[in-house]
């Protein structure tokens, strides 16, 4: 053992206590409780708010695979840390609070397509492929059945039977493709949910 002056002093018991921060009142362990402090690990993930086309930056705080908080991303050029009331409530898309204030998964959140069969009173889950195929089939049938090529001798190439509602949840590229489908299908009744 390398016997320095310091270790010699300690071995000889030359001092009653070493000069530490505890000696002047700064405790590192809590003095008010004997229980060890429990720590919680959390990770931060960047994402983009889906509520509107602005595309504000959001930081999701995730603990044990569960989102515990969402907040505006201060480094994002669009919102610089701020969020609108809907963006602030982004957390509630996934979770809501019970009577005791504890978070629980939001039961109203749809995670799978639902359908109600003709005559049925309840909704039932279906697979995405099945749902998309059914929608495409109905869409084509309706469009073909109601398509108007000429009106008063003028070519109009339209259908009045389909209404298309765009979504601010969709990004720029998706909305571009939607408009292409709308125009090529002859849909004239289209709108946007206009959350801005």
């Amino acid at each position: 053992m390398d016997l320095t002056r310091r270790s010699f002093l300690k071995l000889a018991g030359a001092t009653a206590a070493a000069a530490t921060l505890t000696g002047v009142g700064l405790r590192k362990a809590s003095a008010s409780t004997d229980e060890p402090l429990r720590i919680k690990y959390t990770k931060e993930y960047f994402t983009v708010c889906t509520f509107c086309g602005v595309g504000c930056g959001v930081i999701c705080n995730v603990r044990d695979g569960v989102i515990v908080n969402t907040e505006g991303d201060p480094d994002h050029p669009m919102n610089e840390g701020t969020l609108c009331p809907k963006g602030v409530a982004h957390y509630n898309v996934s979770y809501m609070f019970d009577e005791k204030g504890k978070p629980k998964p939001n039961p109203n959140r749809l995670t799978k397509p639902l359908r109600r069969k003709p005559g049925a009173s309840d909704w039932e889950e279906m697979e995405w492929d099945e749902a998309l195929e059914a929608i495409a089939k109905k869409f084509k049938e309706t469009r073909d059945e109601t398509f108007i090529e000429q009106e008063n001798g003028v070519m109009v190439n339209r259908t009045d039977a389909i209404n298309w509602l765009g979504s601010a949840f969709c990004n720029n590229e998706e909305n571009y493709l939607f408009k292409k489908i709308i125009s090529s299908s002859g849909i004239v009744n289209f709108d946007h949910c206009a959350r801005l």
Binding site: L21, R27, K28, E44, P74
Partner: protein, 299 residues
């Protein structure tokens, strides 16, 4: 901004007494040290460094180079201020008189054997030799030396802060002196991660999900921990370099005005201990935990 004013320290100590458990006992001591520093600089005013050439400074900052400014300090002043702090230690705990006397003797010897002016590196070498040769533990030595150094640096840089374009700085180290940060805050108004230099007091905004030490942005490597039931202090870590720094979440206590984070750092040393126990080392190099607090080893 940046200069440690006694009145701001007092306000911060009072605030910390309300928001941190077990800080009350230390408050009198911290207050006494702040008062000693304030009196010292009133009696021994420091001439600030000349105002920086703004264009040169901005060019360097824009290029991503810290100014790496370090003033040379008068040896006699360094020793005298440390001795005043030592007096405050004895007042707080008369049982430490014998050890602090040893420290003062070593300081006298340092003064006798050093040039008129010393660098930060020489001062840290003195700190290390005191830990080696006296019963002064690492944590108290870190407190005394970091508080002494930051007091001098902030006096020297009084007229430098105004021309420093920290808004152009994206690095993790301090744009002014190049030191690595030990703490920062999540600003109350926008949640931005604002790092504070423990040495010169410069502040700058750093990307939230990025390690200031190794520049890692891999989100799976980065995270933070808090103590259950208290989310005011976060210990941010990077698994790639295994280093940590602390963030005080100013949004949690609705703070008005500027925070003196040096005081919050002292009030949250529990988190330094926990970080060390979790296997992380301080990226700043400031060791606030004694060896026997993390292991059973005794030297």
């Amino acid at each position: 901004m940046n200069k440690l004013q006694y009145s701001s320290c007092q306000e911060e100590i009072n605030r910390c007494k309300k928001i941190y458990k077990d800080f009350k006992d230390a408050a009198t001591f911290i207050d006494a040290v702040c008062a000693e520093a304030a009196n010292f600089f009133e009696e021994n005013p420091v001439t600030p460094l000349p105002v920086l050439d703004e264009d040169m400074a901005t060019t360097r900052i824009r290029a991503g180079n810290s100014l790496e400014m370090h003033p040379r300090l008068k040896t006699a002043d360094v020793v005298n201020l440390l001795k005043r702090f030592n007096d405050a230690v004895i007042k707080a705990n008369p049982g430490l008189k014998k050890i602090m006397k040893q420290v003062n003797e070593s300081l006298d010897s340092f003064l006798a054997n050093s040039a008129d002016e010393v660098t930060k590196e020489e001062i840290f070498a003195l700190r290390n030799s005191l830990i080696e040769e006296t019963e002064l533990e690492q944590d108290l030595a870190t407190f005394l030396f970091s508080f002494m150094l930051t007091s001098f640096y902030r006096q020297h840089f009084k007229s430098t802060y105004e021309v420093l374009r920290t808004d152009l700085w994206e690095g993790g180290d301090c744009p002014l002196c190049g030191e690595m940060p030990h703490y920062g805050q999540l600003r109350a108004d926008d949640g931005a991660k604002q790092l504070d230099c423990w040495l010169c007091g410069a502040t700058w905004v750093h990307t939230r999900i990025k390690c200031p030490f190794c520049g890692n942005t891999e989100r799976e490597d980065l995270g933070y921990f808090t103590v259950e039931g208290d989310d005011k202090v976060r210990v941010n870590y990077c698994k790639k370099c295994c280093q940590y720094y602390k963030l005080i979440d100013a949004r949690k206590f609705h703070a008005d005005g500027e925070l003196v984070l040096a005081i919050h750092n002292l009030a949250s040393l529990t988190h330094d201990l926990l970080a060390r126990q979790e296997g992380f080392t301080p990226g700043s190099g400031l060791e606030w935990v004694n060896r026997d607090e993390t292991t059973d080893d005794q030297d």
